[in-house]
Amino acid sequence: MNEPLWEVFVRPRRGLSHTHVGSLHAPDARMALRHARDLYTRRQEGVSIWVVPASEITASSPDEKDSFFDPAGDKIYRHPTFYELPEGVEHL
């Protein structure tokens, strides 16, 4: 009997995003959440957990890497350091 694979995301502390920590197997979402708690937060590593069926994740493929991510590489105007400020300006 094959139990589905679930990807686990844990928010380590308030103010931080959920981060992928690993995966586990469980028959359904509720059990997956419980197992995630027991497995990935045994040492108080989290304040919130998400579980997502691995089969529901659509990932970008390495073949598409260039077309996906390179275009963002030359749009330096999205980064604040692109803009030179006149001397003496503060709080910007």
Binding site: M1, N2, E3, L5, G22, L24, P27, R30, L39
Partner: protein, 346 residues
């Protein structure tokens, strides 16, 4: 991660700090920092370029088939070892001689299950399923560490396993925190950090026995006598006979040779044994000024091969136990799947 100073303990026995452990944990921290630093460097292109630049290969990257297969074999064997490794120590949980020791042992064996699961998760990113991995273990197609085919005959074995077996495992594992495959490296960092308490509790437990009643002391020495050579054998065959080593090193899966790690382990253990006041069962163990290392008698590699092939004292027992747990759980897994298929949400 503070290993210096005294152990905290509640039973009035101070244990001196273990030298060497500090360095190993420091290495885990440095491996983690290196992992972040590698991520910050500009992306390299091909598989070879990533390896060359000490960056991490990630799950869906293009990789040589032998790299993928070799990693699956290694990670799976590692995961299986954690799972089978629960048995020898689990053997003493219900008989632990104090409630404090019982709690520590329960938590430790639970960590082993957890570590097995982290590793299975890492292996699954390479395109193999848990079912396939489980089947490979139960059918004997994939192996686990031979150390777990030795019996735990007395309570002192809990201490000796913690000190020697976990100690050897840590020496083996710390370099894996820098392994070129991202998910494996990240799992190992997590595992090494969690395992820091395993070795320490074992050493401390053995220290209490070594300084306890004459009977406890005999028990401790006997355990060390039985676990020393099997622990040395954990580093695998000598470099001259190791089949997978060269390619693993080139791909930065492995960073040090079997013999280098074995030597490192011996060098760590000798002063630790002195502090325990216990003897390592090797009359030829002595400091070699010229080499800057201890000379020691290597383990019996023929015995290692016999145990690997299935003729160790507990191979059959360990496998039968695992198969039984798996078979007896089948109706539960089927029921849970049947319930999930009904689409109800409890």
């Amino acid at each position: 991660m503070h290993l210096t100073g005294k152990f905290c303990n509640t039973e009035g026995v101070d244990t001196p700090a273990v030298k060497g452990a500090d360095g190993l944990l420091g290495e885990v921290e440095r491996a983690e920092a290196a992992l972040r630093a590698a991520a910050d460097r500009a992306g390299a292109g091909s598989f070879e370029a990533v390896i060359e630049a000490d960056q991490k290969i990630e799950p869906r990257d293009v990789m040589p088939e032998d790299y993928r297969k070799g990693l699956i074999r290694q990670i799976a064997q590692h995961a299986h070892s954690e799972i089978i490794g629960m048995q020898p120590e689990g053997n003493w949980i219900t008989r632990a001689p104090s409630l404090r020791r019982k709690a520590i042992l329960l938590a430790k064996v639970q960590d082993e299950a957890g570590h097995g699961l982290y590793l299975y998760a890492a292996a699954e990113t390479l395109g193999v399923t848990r079912e396939e991995l489980t089947e490979a273990l139960l059918s004997g197609r994939q192996k686990y560490s031979s150390i777990f085919n030795y019996p735990t005959l007395t309570w002192a074995d809990m201490g000796a396993i913690g000190w020697l077996v976990d100690g050897a495992a840590i020496v083996n594992q710390v370099p894996l925190c820098r392994c070129s495959y991202g998910p494996y490296a990240r799992a190992m960092i997590r595992i090494c950090k969690e395992e820091s308490f395993h070795q320490r509790q074992g050493y401390q437990s053995l220290y209490v026995l070594a300084n306890g009643s004459p009977e406890q002391r005999r028990m401790a020495q006997d355990a060390v006598n039985r676990w020393w050579y099997p622990s040395l054998a954990m580093f695998g065959p000598p470099d001259s006979e190791s089949t997978h080593s060269a390619q693993s090193m080139a791909w930065k899966i492995k960073r040090f040779s079997n013999d280098e790690l074995r030597q490192r382990f011996v060098d760590m253990c000798v002063p630790q044994a002195d502090i325990l006041g216990l003897t390592l069962p090797d009359p030829d163990l002595k400091w070699n000024e010229q080499r800057g290392h201890y000379d020691f008698t290597p383990p019996d590699f023929d015995e290692l091969m016999r145990v690997v092939k299935g003729d160790g004292p507990c191979n059959r027992q360990r496998m039968a136990h695992r198969r039984r747990a798996h078979d007896e759980g089948a109706w539960v897994r089927e029921a849970a799947a049947a319930y999930a298929a009904k689409g109800k949400t409890a």
